[in-house]
């Protein structure tokens, strides 16, 4: 009787053991990140903590998933959204975790975690010691001290912010959510110096060879405004070109530019391409969407290959699709959940190892 009771208690103790408290990923592969390649930031689902980082390696022509988790044995966070490289480091902006993970860009080993950010979206390195981070919810940009990997200040722009581009000592910040302005900031003084009124909900920006800032205004989800593509002369901050999309239902996203700074790309029922000199918007797609759900776009600055992410159904694993510059399909790879922003990595930076 006593023996049976002991076995009973032991059985309970064994069944009560939980191997791992947090979600476990099946089949975590060793990743190879040292060569040239493409990072894909998989956003994952809101508050599900299933965002991840993938890396497409040109060496092995393979997409490695969960590379941050594999390197650090912990999840990346909730809604990793964008990424920037500076000084051999990768800065991964994790939106809903309110943090930036700073990692070695060649092995993804964590160097630091910058916390306390309010819904961060994009990072722009404005000097050797300073970066600006935009925010979906806050009216301020956050200033990051790159030497200490900490928050050093804020710039109140009185608007929420999304995409950001820096040219010399000027940062251009798009106020996306229900906004219609590009805020101009002097990066030396951290002061707002100007604002440029554009179309409704400026969603993404690109800079051409001639230092013209191209702004893609989405028009908003309510479809009460026409989407617009706007060119701004950065020397005068004047609008030099304004192209309106023909249908109120046109909802273009993700403006990109090629390595020469002469061809613009964006998503609208597929990938569309136009010259910066064109006087009208492209009526045809270069890469039709077909049965994909194109979510984000990237143009490789080294060879102009077109990379598109397919969110599939926003809950299953998405895809990274690679096309030649003429729109011909090269291959597609299984990525993480909601593969989003695409970041291109140059050859190994040995100094950062």
């Amino acid at each position: 009787m006593q023996k049976s009771f002991t076995v009973f208690i032991l059985a309970l103790l064994i069944t009560s053991c939980v191997k791992e408290v947090n979600p476990v990923i099946d089949g975590l592969d060793k990743s190879y990140l040292s060569g040239q390649g493409v990072f894909v930031i998989n956003e994952g689902n809101f508050r599900a903590g299933n965002g991840s980082l993938s890396f497409f390696a040109y060496d092995s022509v393979k997409l490695y998933n969960n590379v941050f988790t594999e390197a650090n044995r912990r999840p990346l966070g909730d809604i990793p959204y964008s990424m920037g490289f500076f000084g051999g480091k990768a800065y991964i902006v994790v939106n809903n975790s309110g943090k930036i993970e700073v990692a070695n860009r060649n092995n993804m080993k964590s160097i630091a975690t910058i916390t306390g950010l309010d819904s961060p979206r994009y990072i722009s390195f404005v000097s050797d010691s300073k970066a600006y981070v935009t925010s979906l919810f806050s009216d301020s940009l956050t200033i990051i001290d790159l030497s200490s990997n900490s928050i050093s200040g804020y710039i109140n722009i009185k608007k929420t912010s999304e995409s950001i581009l820096t040219l010399y000592s000027t940062a251009y910040v798009a106020s996306w959510t229900e906004g219609n302005k590009i805020m101009v900031i002097n990066t030396a003084t951290d002061m707002v110096t100007d604002s440029i009124e554009v179309g409704y909900e400026p969603e993404s920006m690109a800079l051409d060879w001639n230092e013209t800032l191209w702004v893609l205004c989405n028009g908003g989800w309510r479809r009460e405004h026409f989407a617009e593509l706007i060119g701004i002369d950065t020397r005068t901050n004047e609008i030099v070109k304004r192209l309106k999309f023909p249908s109120i239902n046109d909802s273009p996203t993700c403006l990109q530019i090629d390595s020469e700074g002469r061809m613009l790309y964006f998503l609208l029922n597929g990938v569309r391409r136009m010259s910066i000199n064109d006087e009208s918007l492209p009526s045809q797609t270069l890469v039709p969407q077909l049965d994909h759900l194109f979510y984000k776009l990237g143009i490789n600055p080294f060879n102009n290959e077109i990379f598109v992410t397919d969110a599939v159904d926003y809950v299953s694993k998405g895809k990274l699709i690679r096309y030649r510059n003429n729109g011909a399909l090269i291959s597609e790879y299984e990525a993480g959940i909601i593969p989003g922003t695409i970041c291109f990595k140059e050859f190994t930076d040995s100094t950062s190892e």
Binding site: L12, I14, T15, P23, S97, S251, V315
Partner: protein, 638 residues
């Protein structure tokens, strides 16, 4: 006795079998004998279960989510103590598991769901769970099952006053008061419930940095109030009842630990007022029930950081009538009509919305032979001015062994679910063109009960079921940058449920054991929903295996209860590549009951999660480690 202990070991060892591998086609359940609690007045052919009032009383300070999760095969998806807890029955979604109060559906037509964490368990006198097609005896749309809370008079009791304060770790305090008084023909029942908890429990955070740290859960406070007043009057063949139920809950909503705490935190306030008037008439072989109900629900959610201030007000008027007549010894006929008018005011719709759903039932029960009975239900539903395709339920009870209470039950049903008001009208993304979901349910149950050695009662049941829900409504990315409700896929769930109840007693002791095992395979039927192995992918957060056991032993004035709950591996992504590990939570209670004349004092101490495991029911929402409760129940009877 030694054999009994070994038998328990066999049962408890079930979850040890390789953590009940999802891959395996064969489930070894050991030599179990299974019981079910038969309920009268509901359709034969499918399974139903009743939660014993003695079990309910152990949850006087807990929520219905705790009670159902510990004592049934319904899986509870819980975001932690005090937070949203939704039921999932037989691998279906929370929207396919109904909740009713005295046969009146109380789930919100806006969401199609009920939050069981804000329903106090101790407010109910009886709780019945109707699985599959049997749920149609209460209402439509619950293809997985339906939980019916019953509050009722006790005509055999002249008066009762009960006070049950309780306190526990993490600032947990509760008080349940029950008062019953009246005469042979009139009875008044009053119940009040107060609950508050800080829920500031420690948990292990191993995801925010390189080394795990113990942190304290923040923004997790909850406070609840509930009040029920019921009046019953009976004369001759007539009975009148009036019931009122007020309930409110104010909660701070904690975020997953992968997200920093919000300041100010998200808050949710729920308030419900439910009233019901019922008239029952019974004479010989004829009975009539007329019920009217008015339900007012309010739900306000606020998230200042995301600038969300959601205000939702819902009012419902329900009229229900049932006529039942035993035409002959063979045939019983039942006719029923049910009308529900719902009015919604919310800042999440473009304008005020209303919906009227009227349904007519015609049902026949046939006692064809001594060993065979059958029933057929036909239901026609009219949604506003639209006639819907009829639903039905057909079942049979076969008694193969003559006089013994052993049954084979068969049921096949079609049970449609009307789209929720949020699915139809939420702005943006609501889709007024949605089709209703159609659920086809087939099940077979073997129900055996026996008494051995004079006083040892053993009841067992074993059920196999197969559900197919067509035109499943889900939210998915729409044409623009927001999600849209759509009929996307079919949901197929199939599995088995096995239960065993053993009771025996002697002159100074009582022993009761209730144990259940559930195996579920549930997933979408779309072509994209099959993994590379060709296996259908399991629906997220539906455990393939669950096992629970409740053991209660009483000796003289002393008693002790042990509960084991094993929850199997749950996938948290649609591709079934990320999962939460299985866990077993063990709770232990011990107490003493002191009686003095007509008074009873029950002093109880409890330890929850006695083995102090860290676990998550939902990813990144930690659950409490070992914690303690103490309660004193004082009761006086006239």
């Amino acid at each position: 006795m030694k054999k009994a202990v070994l038998f328990l070991l066999v049962l408890v060892a079930i979850p040890l079998n390789g953590q009940l591998s999802v891959e395996s086609d064969t489930i070894f359940i050991g030599e179990v004998m299974i019981t079910g609690n038969r309920l009268t007045g509901h359709y034969s052919g499918s399974r139903s279960a009743s939660i014993d009032s003695s079990v309910i009383s152990e949850y006087n300070g807990n929520s219905l989510a705790d009670l159902i999760g510990d004592n049934s095969s319904v899986h509870i998806k819980s975001y932690g103590p005090g937070n949203l807890a939704s039921p999932s029955c037989r691998g279906t979604t929370a929207g396919h598991t109904g909740v009713a109060w005295n046969n009146i559906n109380i789930e919100s037509p806006m969401t199609g769901q009920s939050d069981l964490s804000i329903i106090p368990a101790g407010m109910a006198d009886d709780i019945n769970i109707f699985y599959g097609g049997n749920s149609m005896s209460i209402s439509g749309g619950s293809a997985g099952g339906l939980i019916n809370l019953e509050t009722k008079p006790d005509w055999g009791e002249k008066g009762l006053l009960m006070l049950n304060p309780a306190a526990g770790c993490f600032g947990r305090k509760s008080l349940l008061v029950k008062a019953r008084t009246g005469t042979a023909d009139f009875q008044s029942v009053t119940k009040a419930f107060l609950f508050g908890a800080e829920n500031d429990f420690p948990y292990l955070n191993s995801i925010s940095g390189d080394a795990p740290v113990t942190e304290i859960r923040e923004n997790n406070q909850v406070s609840q109030e509930g009040f029920i007043q019921e009046l019953y009057y009976r004369k001759s063949h007539h009975e009148l009842s009036a019931r009122f139920w007020y309930q409110s809950a104010a909660r701070k909503l904690p975020v997953p630990i992968i997200v920093p705490s919000l300041n100010p935190p998200e808050t949710q306030n729920d308030m419900s007022f439910r009233s019901m008037l019922a008239y029952d008439y019974q004479l010989n072989k004829t009975s009539l029930n007329l019920t009217s109900a008015f339900i007012s629900d309010r739900l306000d959610y606020k998230n200042e950081q995301a600038s969300v201030d959601s205000r939702n007000s819902l009012k419902r008027i329900i009229l229900k009538g049932t006529f039942n007549s035993m035409i002959s010894n063979i045939l019983n006929l039942r006719l029923a009509a049910d009308n529900e008018l719902a009015l919604v005011e919310t800042n999440n719709y473009d304008c005020r919305k209303s919906r009227n759903v009227l349904s007519f039932d015609a049902a026949a029960d046939l006692n064809i032979m001594r060993w065979l009975s059958a029933n057929l239900l036909l239901r026609e539903t009219i949604q506003d001015d639209r006639f819907l395709a009829p639903d039905f339920s057909a079942g049979a009870d076969i008694k193969p062994f003559g006089t013994k209470e052993n049954f084979i039950k068969l049921n096949f049903a079609k049970n449609s679910r009307i789209a929720t008001l949020n699915d139809l009208y939420w702005s943006p993304g609501g889709n007024p063109d949605l089709r209703n979901e159609s659920g086809y349910i087939a099940e077979i149950t073997l129900d055996l009960s026996t008494t051995v050695a004079g006083s040892v009662k053993i009841g067992t049941d074993l059920t196999f079921y197969h559900n197919r829900i067509s035109d499943l409504i889900q939210w998915r990315p729409g044409e623009y940058s927001y999600w849209q409700a759509d009929n996307v896929d079919d949901l197929v769930s199939k599995g088995m449920e096995a239960n065993i109840n053993i009771m025996f007693h002697g002159p100074s002791y009582n022993f009761k054991m209730m144990s259940g095992y559930t195996h579920i395979i549930s997933g979408s039927n779309g072509k994209e929903s099959t993994g590379s192995s060709g296996r259908r992918l399991q629906l997220i957060y539906v455990p393939a295996d669950m096992f629970n056991t409740f053991i209660r032993a009483e000796w003289k004035k002393f008693y002790s209860t042990v509960r084991f709950n094993y929850t199997g591996k749950r996938f948290v992504d649609a591709d079934n590549t990320i999962y939460l590990s299985p866990y077993t939570v063990t709770d232990l209670d011990a107490g003493i009951k002191l009686t003095l004349k007509k008074t009873l004092t029950d002093i109880r101490m409890g330890v929850e999660n006695i083995f102090n495991i860290d676990y998550q029911n939902i990813a990144y929402y930690p659950m409490p480690r070992r914690n303690f409760t103490a309660s004193v129940l004082f009761q006086i009877k006239k």
